[in-house]
Amino acid sequence: MILLLRALMRLLGFLLLIALALVGLGFALAALFGDELGVQLDGSSVGRWLERLEGDGTQVLEAVIGGGMVLLGLLLLIGALAPRRERRAVLEQGEDGTLDARRRPLAQMFTALAERTRGVTHAKAKLRLGRQVRHGRLVLRAERPRTTESSAVREAVRSNVGELAAAFGLKTRVQAPLGRRGRRVQ
């Protein structure tokens, strides 16, 4: 979402700059050579529109456009000010340096650890990292065959990934639903 907003902000920022430059150029030319160029707002459609706005107050269309522009401005601000650095899972931080990992490979590690657990046919880890260092949430979905108890699989998976999850300060939740047919038990 933030990436999309950032791309939108860049594109719109570029287009708005060009539009602003052209409008500025137009106003400058009109101010300097308005008489020679025959630019007259009185009686023109722009002049009539301005008169209508002044006379009847805010119109629905103008209000919608204005509201839309405010919303667009807010989105652009979010795109411009949102933190650019991706969140990383920090394992240790000290004078010697930091040890951290990206979210995706860490989730892969948890998936691999869960899949090594006896009785698990397929596993998938979802990792969400908090804004603060060493805060996050790990949800592990470990599929099991009918012959294995859900609680036993949950416990075994928790014991396999618990140490690593705790080292990264992750709160862990393990789900152990029945697996799809055809998946093999480890």
Binding site: T98, A101, R102
Partner: protein, 121 residues
């Protein structure tokens, strides 16, 4: 031009580049480090004098030392011992090169993990 070994860096090169090349070689010598990764945009690197060390960012500190960040691809191993081994090796190699007093903190960033499949193990 990418640098793959400290020997490719001339002695006249900047300390920053020499440290980066040493750190890269040291990290790659550790069992459990599959490779180094410059990131999707190739920004995690140190470049100077037409040479480039991918996967290592070397930044100057106010006290004259350099902060080194090693961006690595790890095998499926315990990360803390791996980081300790990389740091120790970097410190040793940098000391051998006579640059120990220029080395600051060494960050280890795990950019990817190579999980071996059953068929490949």
């Amino acid at each position: 031009m990418p640098v793959s070994s400290p020997a490719e860096v001339p002695a006249s090169a900047s300390v920053r580049l020499r440290l980066a090349a040493l750190a890269r070689a040291a990290a790659l010598a550790i069992r459990g480090v599959v490779g180094l990764d410059a990131g999707p945009a190739g920004m995690s690197m140190t470049a100077s004098e037409g040479l480039r060390v991918d996967g290592v960012v070397c930044a100057a500190l106010p006290d004259g030392r350099y902060h080194v960040s090693v961006h690595l691809v790890a095998a499926m191993v315990a990360l803390r011992p791996l980081a300790d081994a990389v740091r120790t090796r970097v410190e040793r190699d940098v000391a051998i090169a006579g640059l120990a007093d220029r080395l600051g903190p060494v960050d280890i960033a795990v950019e990817d993990v190579q999980v071996r499949t059953e068929a490949g193990s």
